[in-house]
Amino acid sequence: MLAGLAGEAGPYRRLLDELSGLLRAYYGRRCPPGLDAEDLVQETLIAVHTRRATYDAGQPFTAWAYAIARYKLIDALRRGRAHLRAPAEEADALFTPPGASGGAEAAMAARDLDRVMADLPARTRELIRETKIEGLSTREAAEKHGMTESAVKVAIHRGLKALGGKYAGPGGEEGPDED
């Protein structure tokens, strides 16, 4: 973790890899039905990353990470179970290019896209459009909006997950978001 705080990507990546294994075991035992353990793993990894400034050198890393994991579990239970049910990869499918299927279909797909994204926050919507459709890199999108790159990634990840939650079929409805 200290290497991570110093900006060394290699050791940091190995740390997150190992941590994701620990978290999978942690949530595997504790995750109640209706919550997706892998989503909690991802949420916790995001929190570990974006809030790494709260890690004190000399503190046991696992104690710190588990405290976050526990908070995330309680938070997920509190905010209602449906919210975390649908994984983000299902929403990725919405953004696969229509391919050779012709202009009309593409236009219809674009219109559908406008409709499904209408409930997302405006900035998240723009970020998704720019990175997934217009082909900007996250760095370019970050510069355009004056955000950090990790903030852009987190916003996109959450936006896709919200979409996945909405269109994953029965039982995948979006819970009330408290943010």
């Binding site: 997150l16 809030r51 400034a53 709260t54 050198a57």
Partner: protein, 214 residues
């Protein structure tokens, strides 16, 4: 998104984090809050008219010092509570010291004073408004504390809210000391402390909601 992809994307963008970043965030939130609180105090009450002479008296510094030192200790405690799995430790005991010292001084002055002076010592002329003013002046500080702590990772929200409120109340009381012309130690021990306690209670009640983070 697959977890492996997420890990790759998170570790691809890894700005350095300087040691002490969390403490600096708390300091920034409270600093901006203190500016707001001072502006509220100046616009609403103004400094006491005799402030130039008052700063030469020990009582002014006792009031200001009691509130400011309590606030700074609670700010250190708040920084710890904003970090996962960090124990507040001995700071809790340290935070009690200013209260004990001021209570002891108040008891001493009270015991030494003639009985006919007791009522004035306890009630001053502003006891009914003092705690409420402290809470009101502390609100910008509370907002600053909430902003700072939400951006960190508190895992015990009620405790963090209690300390955030207490810290905002104590620093708000230090700001209020510039406007307040009470001069008795028992007054300070009762009404200033009550103001801080009200702010702490407000923080504890609001904390579990306001301090939630994702």
């Amino acid at each position: 998104m697959k977890t492996d992809d997420l890990i790759a994307s998170l570790s691809a963008d890894l700005p350095k984090v300087a040691p002490g970043a969390a403490a600096r965030r708390v300091a920034l939130g409270l600093g901006l809050g203190a500016l707001g609180s001072t502006a509220v105090m100046l616009a609403w009450l103004g400094p006491r008219p005799d402030i130039a002479e008052a700063v030469l008296t020990p009582m002014f510094w006792m009031k200001f010092g009691y509130a400011a030192i309590t606030g700074l200790i609670l700010a250190a405690l708040l920084t710890r509570l904003a970090k996962p799995a960090v124990r507040p430790g001995a700071l809790v005991a340290v935070a009690a010291v200013p209260f004990v010292v001021v209570a002891a001084m108040a008891l001493m002055r009270y015991a030494q004073a003639p009985p006919e002076a007791h009522r004035a010592m306890l009630m001053g002329h502003s006891s009914m408004v003092c705690p409420w003013r402290i809470v009101a002046i502390g609100l910008p500080l509370l907002a600053g504390a909430v902003w700072a702590v939400r951006g960190l990772a508190p895992t015990r929200l009620r405790a963090a809210g209690l300390v955030a409120g207490g810290c905002a109340g104590a620093l708000g009381a230090a700001v209020y000391a510039i406007a307040c012309n009470e001069t008795s130690a028992p007054f300070l021990a009762i009404w200033y402390t009550l103001g801080m306690a009200l702010a702490a209670g407000l923080g504890a009640v609001a904390g579990s909601r306001l301090l939630r983070w994702r």
